[in-house]
């Protein structure tokens, strides 16, 4: 013990860089979040609970979380597949596919929202096909699901790709020399090596989806208790100037966000300790 808070170093710029970092971090991120927490404290835990503990709010929170969970699950499976194909195989158009994976990251959420709605509405290219078999996609929970899959798509792939790139071929060869066929090697040797990164990607995808607004708001239908997402509730409260209620729901969502962050960090700590890498 007795490690100093900061090691003295001849490297210049400590004061300036630390100053800028902490100042901007406080002004832009910490103080606004603090304002939310202060507002909530002012409102009182009891009142917060009372606001959140209404059917409409629970429904919205559950909806956001449940659909985000399934979307992240889909992205987990598809993302690992995508990472494998992009790293291990060579085929025409591979670079385009690789770049396309980043589109949900670079595209404005509102643009994604209206584009997906145009596709999956009953008169849209895919929506019309779905209508033939009696399946309503847009303005239902399916629409929300697809939008959430879209926004979370890059996370698993991008976290898993570097790990696939670093897989030591000799480990695969070792598995073969020990008599395992390719499927056995994939399941028992390769997939476990990808698990920590895949889980991290899953949690990131989930965190992103739970708070998503722009991509979902157009395709959702926004019917309370059925297709109303939690962020929309906050917006509605603000439009009616119910700042306390908005803050209450906002804090509930913040708690969920922090839980996600914690989960991600725990995964990485566990993985580092057990396997020696992340």
């Amino acid at each position: 013990m007795g490690r100093p808070l900061i090691h003295r170093s001849p490297m210049p710029g400590l004061g300036l860089s630390m100053g800028i970092t902490l100042t901007m971090l406080s002004l832009v991120v910490l103080l606004p979040i603090g304002a939310l927490l202060v507002k909530g404290a002012g409102f009182g835990i009891g009142n917060i609970w009372e606001t959140v503990n209404r059917e409409r709010v629970w429904a919205a929170l559950f909806l956001s979380f449940r659909l985000s969970f399934f979307a992240a699950l889909f992205n987990l499976v598809f993302g690992v597949l995508l990472a494998w194909v992009l790293v291990r195989y060579r085929f025409p158009g591979r670079r385009i596919l690789d770049a396309a994976v980043d589109l949900p990251f670079a595209l404005p959420t509102a643009v994604a929202g209206i584009a997906l709605t145009a596709l999956y509405a009953p008169n849209g290219a895919f929506g019309a096909l779905a209508k033939e078999i009696g399946w309503k996609i847009a303005y239902s929970q399916w629409g929300i699901f697809i939008a959430l899959v879209f926004v979370g798509l890059p996370f698993v792939t991008r976290t898993v790709q570097p790990v696939v790139e670093e897989i030591d071929r000799e480990v695969e060869e070792a598995s073969a020399t020990l008599g395992a066929n390719r499927l056995h090697t994939l399941i028992h040797v390769i997939l476990p090596m990808l698990t920590p990164a895949a889980l991290t990607g899953f949690a990131l995808s989930l965190a992103r989806a739970v708070g998503e607004y722009g991509s979902v708001i157009f395709i959702a239908g926004n019917i309370p208790l059925v297709t109303e997402i939690a962020p929309l509730l906050i917006v509605i409260q603000l439009e009616e100037f119910n700042y306390d209620a908005a803050a209450a729901i906002g804090i509930a969502m913040l708690v969920i966000s922090f839980a996600m962050l914690l989960a991600i960090n725990l995964i990485q700590v566990w993985s580092r300790r057990r396997i020696g890498y992340v």
Binding site: E173, S175, A176, T177, G179, A180, M193
Partner: protein
Amino acid sequence: MHIEIDEISKEFGTTAALHPVSLAIPSGALVALLGPSGSGKTTLLRILGGLEFPSSGRVRFDGQDATGLSVQDRRAGFVFQSYALFRHMTVFENIAYGLKARPRATRPARAEIARRVGKLLDLIQLPDIGARFPSQLSGGQRQRVALARALAIEPRMLLLDEPFGALDAKVRKELRQGLRDIHDETGLTTVFVTHDQEEAMELADLVVVMSMGRIEQIGKPADIRARPATPFVRSFISA
């Protein structure tokens, strides 16, 4: 198991890693493939193990053509230069891997697998590390686990790629003796690759000196020292 290498050659694109080489390895011998980097020794070893496919020539095990035999079917225990242990599995699970990977028909019962792993841990003189992960082991311990893992599948031969390369001098000496002991105890035909001539001379029954994809000389260590066949051998051995 008697190994016959018959005019094996290997080209990577336009580079010839191995010019046609022939070699007969008697059953139960401990053989060193000795040479500098680029001599083709590792390529030859990998061809024996089925990890590379020869451009021409044949490999025979006990007289039967094994050139087309898949890696899985070859039952060649292979120890990689980097050991290639499965980092997410314990030492026990690593060693048991080959046995568990067998199809149900030939897979031993769980208790039997545990028994065999225990015996192997005793053989490599590390009876207590079964529950540890590779990241918690030293280099020398990892090498021995890799050896035990290869032995677990009851191989017909043992192939080792620079088995002592990454270790410091003291550990090397101990492991050399360990390998000799294991070889004597199991009686397996063993082939190892090295660039260290002292190691080859000390350990092997038969030394194959290679350079630039060709075999320069084959013989017992004493014979090679006494009568080097080419100038290359003479300078390499005395280095």
